[in-house]
């Protein structure tokens, strides 16, 4: 039997030691009605060789992004991952350990997570970070619940330009709470309408949620946000792409109280959107309301520096129904991967990735602007993705797909009023040739002619 190391004779010996004849004797408490008889509809086990064949065949039925010229982003970004990253995080001491409850034999994980927390604080400018949450959507939900605990008010104002997947997760998490959500429309530029936001604010407002760069790729007017929203009792939450923080000022300088989002862009890979983790960082005065694991620095019995999980009185295993959150297992290894990513790239490397992605996105946008029939009504203040409009967007996307181009994400799916909108993303992996190919092909699809770019 695979993965059972004891030999039949050892098993017999152990059964004898336990005073039973067969393993079935351990199950004497199970009522007959609940037992599986001979009717278990699961195939017989297979060899590793057969398993590999079967899963290879399944995986071959997917078409990986590399088979296309892809401009898909919308919350999951295809960045280059250094080979050393995969090597480091597949070390068994990282991949096969669990939550570092026992500090003395988990210093490696603890220090790595402490460094992760430090990285998140540096990127966001916040004082404290937890050890990760499950994904960006649930991180936002936790941030909103955290605000409600802090000021005990019951409305949440979010921007229409928040990632629709996050809105959905937020809505789900708020089901059991007496919290109302108001969504404030964006302006014609694809930016949050700050005056409407201000109007929506009242004495019941618990928190304001902005995303920047927002779902449409547009960088919000953060300076204005700082000027307009002075009421300190209302918490300001910013959802962000952490990679963008290599270029933009840390959110702390714009007066945000909580910064959260998905860490996937930092070395996470695609994996059907699974290689993600939630990050959440806050001002230190909110520390006691931060959900999830936190690692702290301390001393051991010899007076040497050591690390351990700390402030556990916030957590479910101690506080039970009064816990800040129910979170237990998180996405540690993915968070660790982001720390390794930041360590490998370093200051210069990370800026290069961010700026190259941005350059490519601007280059693409400019190229599209020269095509008749393409409307770029949203603000040009973008980071790595942007929305363009065309008539019959789904058909246009289809035509491009036939040419091997995944032009982006059709936002009409979530936003009726933007039914001609496509969200296209560039990372540093895009070459000029690939971008030109997209621009030329789009011109061809629309006009049956080549638009020669450079």
């Amino acid at each position: 039997m695979p993965y059972i190391p004891n030999s039949p004779s050892q098993i017999k010996e152990m059964l004898r030691a336990c005073g039973v004849k067969s393993p079935a004797d351990f199950y004497s408490d199970l009522p007959e009605e609940i037992r599986i008889k001979d009717d278990l509809d699961i195939p017989a086990g297979i060899s590793e060789q057969q398993l590999k064949r079967k899963l290879l065949a399944l995986s071959d039925k997917n078409r990986p992004l590399d088979k296309f010229n892809s401009f898909l982003g919308a919350g999951c970004y295809d960045h280059y991952i250094p080979a050393a990253l995969s090597f480091i995080i597949s070390q068994p001491e990282f991949s096969t350990a669990y939550t570092p409850y026992q500090a003395e034999c988990s210093q490696g994980a603890l220090q790595a997570i402490y460094e992760y927390q430090s990285y998140i604080c540096r990127l966001t400018g916040m004082d404290v970070s937890n050890a990760s949450l499950l994904d960006g959507g649930s991180a936002l939900a936790e941030a909103v619940l955290m605000s409600a605990r802090l000021n005990r008010r019951n409305t949440v104002i979010i921007s229409e330009a928040l990632n629709p997947e996050y809105k959905e997760v937020l809505k789900t998490y708020l089901k059991g709470h007496d919290l109302k959500t108001y969504e404030v429309q964006v302006s014609g530029e694809g930016k949050t309408d700050l005056s409407m936001f201000l109007n929506a604010c009242d004495k019941d407002t618990s928190c304001l949620v902005f995303q920047s760069p927002n779902f449409f790729g547009v960088v919000e007017n953060l300076i204005e946000i700082k000027k307009l929203f002075k009421d300190e009792s209302v918490l300001k939450i910013m959802v962000t792409n952490p990679l963008s923080l290599a270029v933009f000022k840390e959110p702390s300088s714009f007066g945000f109280d909580i910064v959260c989002g998905d860490g996937q862009p930092l070395g996470g890979g695609l994996r059907l959107g699974g290689a993600c983790f939630g990050f959440l960082a806050a001002k230190k005065e909110y520390l006691r309301q931060v959900p999830g694991r936190i690692v702290g620095k301390t001393l051991d019995s010899h007076g040497n520096v050591a690390y351990c999980l700390t402030l556990q009185a916030r957590e479910q295993h101690i506080r039970r129904e009064k816990a800040r959150s129910n979170i237990c297992s998180n996405q540690s290894l993915n968070a660790l991967a982001s720390a390794v990513y930041l360590s490998l790239l370093g200051r210069k490397g990370l800026r290069e990735v961010a700026l190259t992605s941005m350059s490519n996105a601007h280059y693409l946008r400019q190229g599209l602007s020269r095509i008749r029939g393409i409307k770029l009504t949203f603000s040009p203040l973008i980071f790595n993705e942007f929305v363009w409009f065309t008539d019959n967007a789904p058909q246009v996307l289809n035509e491009l797909y036939k040419k091997g181009i995944i032009a982006g994400y059709y936002i009409g799916k979530h936003f009726n009023k933007y039914n001609g909108g496509v969200l296209s993303c560039c990372t540093e992996k895009k070459t000029k040739e690939e971008i030109n190919d997209f621009i030329n092909s789009l011109a061809e699809v629309l006009h049956g002619e080549k638009a020669y770019i450079r």
């Binding site: 999951c76 402490y114 460094e115 959107g273 051991d300 039970r320 790239l345 350059s359």
Partner: protein, 487 residues
């Protein structure tokens, strides 16, 4: 020598050149200086030094691949290497969640087939794969309970959990807007009288794990189910302890309506220092339509995403959950098959009972009955002799054994909860048993040695009180770069 943080290894200059930069825009021309970062205080270190840094950290960690790790309630079984390889295949790792369905047929088929296998194992009608941890599975499940009652027009306000329940159960009830009612156990099991007394019409559900956290099978499960259902409640299964029942009994037959399974426990996916795992949720027929969306369906030979159900509670997480964890768990089930799963379950129970039998003369089992996949000891006697469960746990580290779960479940004094799993051999169990016996002797002969343990670990006993009193949670020192350095 003090271990250095990565930030202390900063060289201040370096060319990583992982990518080919193409920098033809000037951000300040687009955004203006006020928006832009002047200084990014990340360290610059060469690749060889980064690799060495993390290799040195890794070696300070115990893990399943390097140590016996009998952490109760966590099912730290061996993580098959083939599954890592398979989940890394280009066709699984290089796919984007927003690709067209026809580009993702393999992934959809995998989830569809996986769902079928899980339904066969548990008796559920369908599964949703988004929930990414046990706790998120619980949140999903109890929100389904909530939606169910709301649609049926009965507002209920309470959720019952036994006093042996895991902390995530009551914490989940609160997150879903319910008041938690705790019922006391009797002989380590649900007290039927108490349950009958507490289960009034305001109770939405009972959350139960079976076998429970004491490692005992709730033998009155059918009676429990009857009480819950007669009173209009639902029965929720915390599947963290499903390992001993795989291929042997079905939660649906026990009367559970909604369940979560921890793929990172029962189905062998690695724990990654705390995650990612998966806490996928299954439901029986009448509750199926409350599951998160999208659901994966099949029409002719094509798989597609179904966003149809209006009763769905929504989505607890973005995209499809931790897809690579699903691939690994699916592969695990295929590889073991019907017989293998059952054998794994049985051997997990055998290993736990073997430890119990061999140690019961020394450590008091919380309950004398036969256990399932884990055994809980109380170290109260040892504590009287001068060494607590904590001291015993720390001393085990000197034997290069990861300590069992401590002080849980809460109803056992000085608890040590041992879950060996089926993937450990007898030699290792015997080594653990000898170590525990030796430690027991030391509680008499040399308790000081235990109290000051560990002696051979990377660090001495860590001062957790100090960490909480004076929180230092991030490195802030000397990381700021001088402005003169070019970025």
């Amino acid at each position: 020598m003090e271990r250095k943080l990565i930030f202390d290894k900063d060289r201040g200059c370096r060319n990583s050149s992982y990518i080919t930069p193409s920098l033809d825009i000037k951000p300040e021309e687009i955004f203006g200086g006020d928006m832009l970062r002047e200084d990014l205080s990340l360290p610059d270190i060469s690749e060889s030094e980064v690799v060495r840094h993390y290799m040195q950290l890794a070696r300070l960690n115990f893990s399943v691949d390097t140590n016996f790790y009998p952490l109760g309630s966590c099912t730290m079984k061996y993580n098959p290497k083939i599954n890592e390889y398979l989940s890394g295949l280009e066709g699984f790792s290089r796919i984007h969640p927003l690709q067209r369905e026809d580009d993702l047929q393999g992934a959809l088929e995998l989830m569809y087939e996986f769902q079928n296998l899980l339904c066969a194992l548990t008796g559920m009608k369908a599964f949703a794969f988004q929930p990414s941890s046990g706790a998120q599975g619980e949140l999903t499940g109890i929100l389904m309970v909530r939606s169910f009652h709301e649609i049926n027009g009965s507002k209920k306000s309470k959720v019952i959990v036994p006093d042996s329940a895991h902390g995530t159960n009551p914490a989940t009830a609160t997150m879903c807007g319910y008041e938690t009612v705790v019922i006391e156990s009797r002989d380590g099991l649900v007290d039927i009288h108490q349950l009958e007394k507490s289960f009034d019409e305001d109770v939405a559900a009972l959350m139960l794990t079976n076998p429970n956290t004491l490692g005992l099978f709730e033998k009155d499960i059918l009676k429990i189910s009857r009480i819950v259902h007669e009173r209009g409640g639902l029965l929720y299964y915390d599947g963290a302890n499903f390992n001993p029942l795989m291929g042997i009994a079905k939660p649906a037959l026990m009367g559970f309506d909604i369940i979560h399974l921890n793929l990172h426990k029962t189905f062998s996916t690695p724990h990654g220092c705390g995650g990612p795992g998966a806490g996928i949720v299954g439901a029986v027929e009448p509750l199926e339509e409350f599951l998160p969306l999208p659901r994966i369906k099949k029409r002719n030979k094509t798989f597609y995403l179904d966003y149809g159900s209006e009763k769905s509670l929504g989505s607890p997480r973005t995209f499809f959950g931790n897809f690579d964890v699903l691939v690994k768990a699916y592969a695990y089930i295929l590889r073991l098959g019907r017989e293998g799963l059952k054998r794994a379950a049985q051997n997990s129970v055998l290993n736990a009972n073997y430890i119990k039998k061999k140690l019961e003369k020394y450590y008091q089992p919380a309950y004398s009955k036969q256990c399932m996949h884990e055994v809980v000891f109380s170290c109260s006697e040892q504590k009287k002799r001068g060494a607590s469960a904590l001291d015993i746990a720390k001393r085990l580290i000197d034997y290069r054994i990861h300590p069992p779960t401590m002080y849980f479940p809460l109803i056992v004094k000085e608890a040590l909860m041992v879950e060996p799993t089926e993937t450990e051999n007898k030699e290792m169990l015997d080594y653990f048993i000898r170590a525990m016996i030796k430690i027991d002797e030391d509680t008499e002969k040399n308790p000081q040695k235990l109290k000051s343990s560990p002696h051979k670990a990377a660090v001495g006993r860590v001062d957790e009180t100090r960490a909480a009193r004076m929180p230092v949670l991030a490195h802030t020192g000397c990381g700021k770069h001088k402005k003169s350095q070019k970025t």
